[in-house]
């Protein structure tokens, strides 16, 4: 290909581009990506995909199965809040970073060596993978699915592509970053005013995005980076507003969960309304019964039966995978109490099943620990009033630190696993 247009190095005029700018943006980006990735994988673990029908797709390899804890109660609100906040904050920095290194896309020759060729394949996966995970994540939190594939497995596996390519990129570019910071200092270029904003000279013996024919500067590096920082902080604030809630919810100016519903006991964020879940009113009326089931044994309870049992109140958050939370005061019957009544074994896993007619999340399985936790409730009321239909009337699950959608609404059945040893009436074997 002839060296014309963007393939000519002199095509790229900005005096701000170069290895220092790219390195500085990378150092800002990396901690955000680390937190975002770790909390993303933690979220996957928080769904306990090894239990019951919890897995949203067939697992390939999961090396980090452990029972998701039930405390602190805000654990999932924290990890998933961080996932969305760091992800949003990373977007402007990622875009700036891509701008800073765009001349490298048009590098000639296309591959200087086999090693360089592999690096460029890795870069394609890095750019495609990063844009993919950020775009799908941002669309998902706005409940917009123009992509026509299932979000969870796509976002999950694309993150492996992104992170594998990122690891390769870091190994190959760490030297550039070190050299750039050694030659120009980590922060020194931020002190230059416009008169002192000179093009980066590039690095000896390395191919960088430093310009060979720079135009005069119209902007300092600190103004460029400050603008990126303001964009990043604004997005982080919008994310924080919907994670922390309360008076901070006002910060969520453009993020999806910034609206306040009112002051009533049921006026808080809804993940899925009764209407959209296909809940018909006749199923939640006076004929509603809760079935407790262990193996072949089952018990049926009315709502009045449940209200007649010991009522426990707990302040617990609904923390959504989409990165918003809301803490409310729930009242209902302990799941452990219902387990005793049903005759379930100690520490048995429990599956909650909803009236909801369809969808993979009409049911969820809790670990033995989650089902037995002091504050794990079948809630009947919230903030002193009966649950509204949108919040799961007649009864819903609420478990500390559990991902929001696993707090099953409109519960019609609780089923405990049958443990072989426990199902024997006399474990000492007096046959």
């Amino acid at each position: 290909m002839p060296e014309v247009g963007p393939f000519r190095r002199s095509f790229w005029k900005s005096p701000l581009r170069g290895p220092w700018l790219a390195s500085f943006l990378s150092s800002a980006l990396l901690p955000l990506i680390v937190i975002c990735s770790l909390t993303g994988f933690l979220s996957h673990a928080a769904y306990n995909p090894d239990l019951g029908q919890n897995a949203l797709f067939d697992e390939g390899v999961d090396l980090y199965f452990f029972d998701w804890p039930t405390g602190p109660t805000w654990l999932y609100a924290l990890t998933q809040g961080l996932h969305i906040i760091t992800g949003l904050a990373a977007i402007p920095i990622l875009l700036a970073k891509l701008w800073a290194v765009i001349p490298q896309l048009f590098e000639r020759p296309t591959a200087r060596s086999i090693a360089h060729g592999l690096e460029r394949i890795g870069l394609a996966l890095l750019v495609g993978g990063s844009l993919f995970v950020f775009a799908t994540g941002v669309l998902n939190i706005q409940i917009y699915y123009p992509f026509g594939f299932s979000f969870v497995p796509a976002h999950y596996y694309a993150s492996f592509i992104f992170l594998a390519a990122l690891a390769f990129h870091i190994v190959t570019k760490l030297g550039v970053m070190r050299a750039a910071f050694r030659e120009r200092g980590v922060l020194r270029p931020l002190r230059e005013d416009l008169a002192h904003t000179a093009p980066e000279p590039g690095l000896e013996g390395r191919h960088t995005s430093a310009p060979v024919a720079a135009a005069p500067p119209t902007m300092t590096r600190r103004l460029l980076l400050g603008t990126v920082g303001v964009g990043s902080a604004a997005l982080a604030a919008m994310g924080t507003g919907q994670v922390v809630g309360g008076p901070l919810r006002k910060l969520a100016l453009l993020s999806p969960r910034g609206e306040s519903f009112g002051d009533g006991p049921n006026d808080f964020q809804v993940n899925k309304t009764a209407e959209s879940a296909g809940i018909s009113m006749d199923k939640v009326g006076a004929d509603w019964r809760l079935t407790l089931e262990v193996g072949d044994e089952s018990v049926e309870l009315t709502r009045d039966d449940l209200l007649g049992m010991e009522q426990v109140t707990a302040d617990l958050p609904i923390a959504c995978v989409e990165g918003w939370s809301t803490t409310q005061s729930w009242t209902g019957v302990r799941l452990s109490e219902l387990a005793r009544m049903a005759g379930a074994a100690e520490g048995a896993e429990m599956q909650a099943i909803s009236i909801q007619p369809g969808g993979p999340l009409r049911q969820a399985t809790l670990t033995g620990g989650q089902a037995a936790a002091e504050e794990s409730l079948l809630a009947l009321k919230v903030n002193g009033a009966d649950l509204s239909i949108d919040h799961g009337f007649p009864a819903r699950i609420i478990v500390p630190a559990l991902p929001g959608v696993h707090n099953t609404k409109w519960v019609e059945k609780l089923a405990w696993e049958v443990k072989d040893s426990a199902s024997l009436p006399n474990p000492s074997g007096a046959a």
């Binding site: 706005q142 299932s150 390769f168």
Partner: protein, 156 residues
């Protein structure tokens, strides 16, 4: 070792890291083809993202920036006021555009059925909020420029 470097272009460690990275990516793609009902669309989005960003989005905003810069700072020695004006234009437009880029499904009500149905809220408010936020950014930037203008002229 020298021979390897000459033939390959980097150290053996580089090659091992490259192979590890590509193997993980290939594994993830296999999983995608195994699990996803529309694996072709996954590839289109993965590669399409590069095309859309690198060959459409970035050139487009660069051209807009170059047009604004050309109009405001033409000539060899643009005044400090003109350079400041350029940045007072660039920055609010950039921030407003960033907000639209990230929140366009809400701002432009791309998924009113999905969002409204699921959340019980409406996407109606977002276009107004984005417009007001943009207005505040533009007006704030204009005000700052006006306040700085005298000082900048005096420095010429």
């Amino acid at each position: 070792m020298k021979r390897f470097r000459y033939e390959y272009g980097a150290s053996p460690v580089h090659l091992l890291v490259a192979l590890t990275s590509l193997a993980v990516s290939a594994w993830a793609l296999l999983q995608v083809f195994d699990v996803l009902s529309g694996p072709g669309r996954f590839l289109i989005w993965l590669l399409g993202a590069i095309v859309v960003h690198d060959f459409i989005f970035l050139p487009l905003y660069s051209l807009l920036d170059r047009a604004a810069a050309g109009a405001l700072t033409r000539g060899d020695n643009p005044s400090r006021l003109r350079i400041a004006a350029l940045n007072h234009l660039r920055i609010p437009v950039l921030l407003s555009g960033l907000m639209l880029l990230v929140w366009y499904p809400l701002v432009l009500s791309r998924s009113p059925g999905g969002f409204d149905g699921a959340t019980g809220m409406s996407t109606d408010i977002y276009l107004g909020r984005w417009l007001l936020l943009s207005a505040v950014l533009f007006a704030g930037s204009a005000l700052l420029l006006a306040l700085r203008a005298r000082g900048l002229r005096a420095e010429e």
